[in-house]
Amino acid sequence: MHELSLVKSLLQQVEPYQDRPIKKVVLEVGTMTCVDPERLVFCFDMVKEEAGLSDVNLQINMQQAIAKCQQCEREFKLQQLGQPCECGSYHYTIGTGRDLNLIEIEFNDV
């Protein structure tokens, strides 16, 4: 379950900001990362109390994968791997959709 490894990284990254009470942490997860958002929340909930983040809400924004076809050079929304471009080609480069980012930390009023 690689989601647990990701949560461990997240805890390290959030740690420097824990001098203020954190309300929400927002992640951006690309649809082509093989990361399951529900499992990510499940893993976060498992460890958040121990990390002093028990009141934190984890929000996950999915990032739509966009691929560029090497054949016709069109950009298209990639819904799943193995999907052809409109022109029928399977040769394409995935641009966005592979990001796993911490994008926002929201604090409670002090």
């Binding site: 490894s5 990254q13 992640l27 796993l100």
Partner: protein, 250 residues
């Protein structure tokens, strides 16, 4: 660049020299905007591994695949193959528990180190970092990293390798590429092993190859019987050729 959020606005920070903690001026009310990769730590270490291996001119191959696909058997056979007798081959063995595979590699004449991941289901760049410093692969040698048998998690972690191989066997079922697309789409070579069992199992080779062609049209696909490498059959020669090409092009 700021280590915490990757922002380039060095000026936009207020740091406390005692705690080392800092706040950012790009706060919007109570919200701090960041753009920090969750895998940044692993990626940085993988890059360090890559540079270290490159400096030593060591070719590193990340061997991934299903449990029981025959990854260790492939390495054993490769170590014993007369064609590779001139190569210096070392192996980092990844498994949750036991040193069974490391013992097999050692018996086959390879320099090996076992990495047990405990509850972990994949190797990461930090484990490889420790592994290569203990194993000390020789300059100009070949390093195989046998990942934990798993078709999901290892795909996500860069170890600092030069090439990625995904291995499955005909006993796994022909729909494995379709079921685990990430693993099969992010590798340079796909090996379909245990070809000698094809007459006895219900495996649609064309179906599997068709799925692979859609997921990873640029990947090489080799059908072979890893534990029968003593035989001079054409299928196993493809593997030997693939590997020698990588060694010669390094």
């Amino acid at each position: 660049m700021c280590n915490h959020c990757g922002c380039s606005a060095e000026k936009a920070r207020i740091s406390d020299p005692q705690s080392g903690k800092h706040t950012h001026l790009h706060m919007d009310g109570n919200s701090l905007k960041l753009q920090e990769s969750l895998l940044a730590g692993n990626t940085a270490l993988a890059e360090q591994n890559r540079k270290w291996l490159q400096k030593l001119q060591v070719i590193a191959i990340n061997l991934m695949g299903t449990p029981g696909a025959g990854k260790t058997a492939l390495l054993e056979a490769t170590l014993k193959a007369p064609q590779f007798a001139s190569l210096d081959i070392s192996v980092l063995e990844g498994d949750q528990q036991t040193s069974n595979d490391a013992k097999r590699i050692q018996s086959a004449g390879g320099k090996v180190l076992q990495i047990n991941t405990g509850t972990g289901c994949h190797l990461d760049a930090d484990m490889i970092h420790s592994g290569i410093h203990s194993l000390e692969p020789q300059p100009g040698s070949l390093l195989f990293i046998e990942n934990v048998g798993n078709l999901v998690c290892p795909a996500l972690f860069d170890l600092g390798e030069n090439y990625r191989i995904t291995m499955m066997s005909v006993t796994d079922g022909a729909d494995k590429p379709e079921k685990y697309p990430h693993m099969f789409s992010e590798c340079d070579l796909i090996i379909i092993n245990k070809a000698d069992l094809l007459p006895y199992v219900d495996f649609d080779l064309e179906y599997a190859k068709n799925c692979i062609a859609k997921l990873n049209p640029d990947a090489d696909v080799i059908l072979m019987s890893a534990n029968k490498q003593g035989d001079a059959d054409e299928e196993n020669q493809q593997w030997q050729q693939w590997l020698m090409n990588r060694v010669n092009n390094a």
